[in-house]
């Protein structure tokens, strides 16, 4: 079965539907599926629910789907650095479900692993716990969180082979593996598709079973906060 597609638009062909639920990898602007996000903007798919740790910045990453009003609801842990997000949320145009970061990552992982729910101490005694089942284990209170299964996952990796085995680079791995796992269909954009057999099988980060379509492309990889030290400080 052919997994490699020539463009992001072709890789998404037939997968997009208004009102669908998308899980996206990335942390801030690091390791985001920027080509697939742009292709979704161009496709005009609307009323999206998107699970992603952040929502990009105003003019990059998932932020561009806010500008075009294609997102109806976000499931995120942190939405600072995005003025348009705040404006749409405060005006009631955008629905927002805050998830603690680790809860969001585990919800994705669990959903992909066939685990419908799990108990966690995270958020007990806070607004996050309101309305959720509480249960004691060993004298400690935990709350029930549900696994996420998305209609579509969009992720970014460093390298892939044509069977969809993925290798990520440094902290650009972040939410990409759990996001990929929780999708009924997963499309991965990569910096390089390498010949079959050239990735060390012991060093595959995400096996190709989770990845249905792959596209190679040029990435801007924008830096959100450029922090440096001067040479004389060394």
């Amino acid at each position: 079965m052919k997994k490699v597609y020539a463009t992001a638009a072709e890789a998404l062909d037939g997968l997009l539907q208004d009102g669908m639920f998308i899980a996206a990898g990335g942390f801030g602007l690091c390791g985001i599926p920027e080509l697939l996000i742009a292709a979704i903007r161009d496709a005009g798919t609307k009323d999206l629910t998107v699970a992603s740790n952040n929502c990009g910045v105003d003019d990059f990453g998932l932020g561009i789907l806010l500008q075009t009003r294609q997102i109806r609801k976000m499931i995120s842990s942190y939405v600072g650095e995005n003025a348009e997000f705040m404006r749409q949320y405060l005006s009631g145009e955008l629905e927002l479900e805050f998830n603690p970061q680790g809860t969001l990552a585990e919800r994705m992982r669990a959903g992909g692993c066939g685990i419908p729910g799990f108990y966690t101490k995270t958020g007990v005694g806070t607004v996050i716990a309101e309305g959720k089942e509480h249960k004691e284990f060993g004298g400690q209170t935990y709350i029930l969180e549900h696994g996420i299964v998305a209609d579509l996952s969009i992720v970014k990796a460093w390298k892939a082979d044509d069977t969809g085995n993925l290798v990520f680079r440094k902290t650009a791995r972040n939410f990409n593996p759990p996001a990929a796992m929780c999708g009924r269909v997963c499309v991965a954009e990569v910096e390089e598709i390498v010949p079959r057999g050239s990735l060390d099988p012991d060093l595959i980060h995400l096996p190709g079973i989770y990845v249905h379509r792959i596209v190679q492309g040029q990435h801007e990889k924008r830096i959100e906060q450029r922090t440096v030290r001067k040479r004389e400080d060394a």
């Binding site: 942390f27 801030g28 602007l29 690091c30 390791g31 740790n53 995120s76 842990s77 942190y78 939405v79 600072g80 650095e81 705040m86 949320y89 405060l90 805050f98 603690p100 970061q101 680790g102 809860t103 990552a105 585990e106 994705m108 992982r109 966690t120 101490k121 995270t122 958020g123 007990v124 005694g125 806070t126 607004v127 996050i128 460093w158 990520f168 680079r169 440094k170 902290t171 650009a172 791995r173 972040n174 939410f175 990409n176 593996p177 759990p178 980060h205 990889k221 924008r222 830096i223 959100e224 906060q225 450029r226 922090t227 440096v228 030290r229 001067k230 040479r231 060394a234």
Partner: protein, 208 residues
């Protein structure tokens, strides 16, 4: 004289012991890394890195190497990378010895509020709720009072909580307090700050 930001960070660094895996929050907690000295401390960044190095030299920034504050950083020869689910697995699983975090408010029973101000600031909790629920020891570093001079060390928090009964130790510009049964216990005062001054700036119950 109360402690300044760097003195607070230096005091917080004294909490860290050789061999510890530690998560540092944004702001003053980030400065703690400058004061660990010869101690063998491994810094965790919850976006998926153990063994966080300093900021890169100009021109050597790598968009694929950032910390949880989205700042460019560097790796060390001991660094390991992993995904977000694994990262919070080690946090939730109690493998991280301590987290040093900033706060808007702390209460006498160890409640922490540091993620939102209703109607004013809606950024999200990020990984803070997971950290305070999971790590071995939670140390808060913050100014003792807000800009209006009101105590941030309270009987009860007024802002939405990040965690309930999670704080172990509070380090402020005025001194160090521990959360103990019945309230807070003064561990030490900043140089030049009297115990009376510390008590006067604290709304929370202080037990002797």
């Amino acid at each position: 004289m109360p402690w300044d930001r760097n003195q607070m960070a230096a005091r917080a660094a004294q909490e860290l012991k050789d061999g510890m895996y530690v998560n540092l929050g944004i702001g003053i907690p980030t400065l703690v890394a400058n004061y660990v000295g010869d101690k063998d401390i491994t810094l965790q960044s919850e976006n998926g890195m153990l063994g966080m190095g300093p900021f890169p030299f100009e021109g050597e920034e790598d968009p694929d190497v950032i910390n949880a504050g989205k700042q460019t950083i560097t790796e060390l020869n001991r660094t390991a990378y992993f995904d977000s689910a694994t990262s919070f697995g080690m946090i939730r699983g109690g493998k991280i010895a301590a987290a040093i975090l900033g706060a808007m408010e702390v209460s006498e029973n160890g409640d922490l509020a540091n993620w939102m101000i209703p109607g004013k600031l809606i950024k999200g909790m990020g990984g803070a709720m997971d950290l305070v629920a999971g790590v071995g020891r939670v140390i808060v570093v913050m100014d003792h009072t807000n800009k209006a001079g009101e105590s941030k060390v309270l009987r009860e928090c007024t802002l939405p909580l990040t965690g309930k009964g999670v704080v172990d130790r509070i380090i402020t510009n005025l001194g160090v307090l521990d959360v103990v049964p019945g309230g807070l216990r003064i561990v030490e005062c900043a140089e030049g700050v009297t115990e009376d001054e510390l008590r006067a700036a604290t709304e929370a119950t202080i037990v002797s």
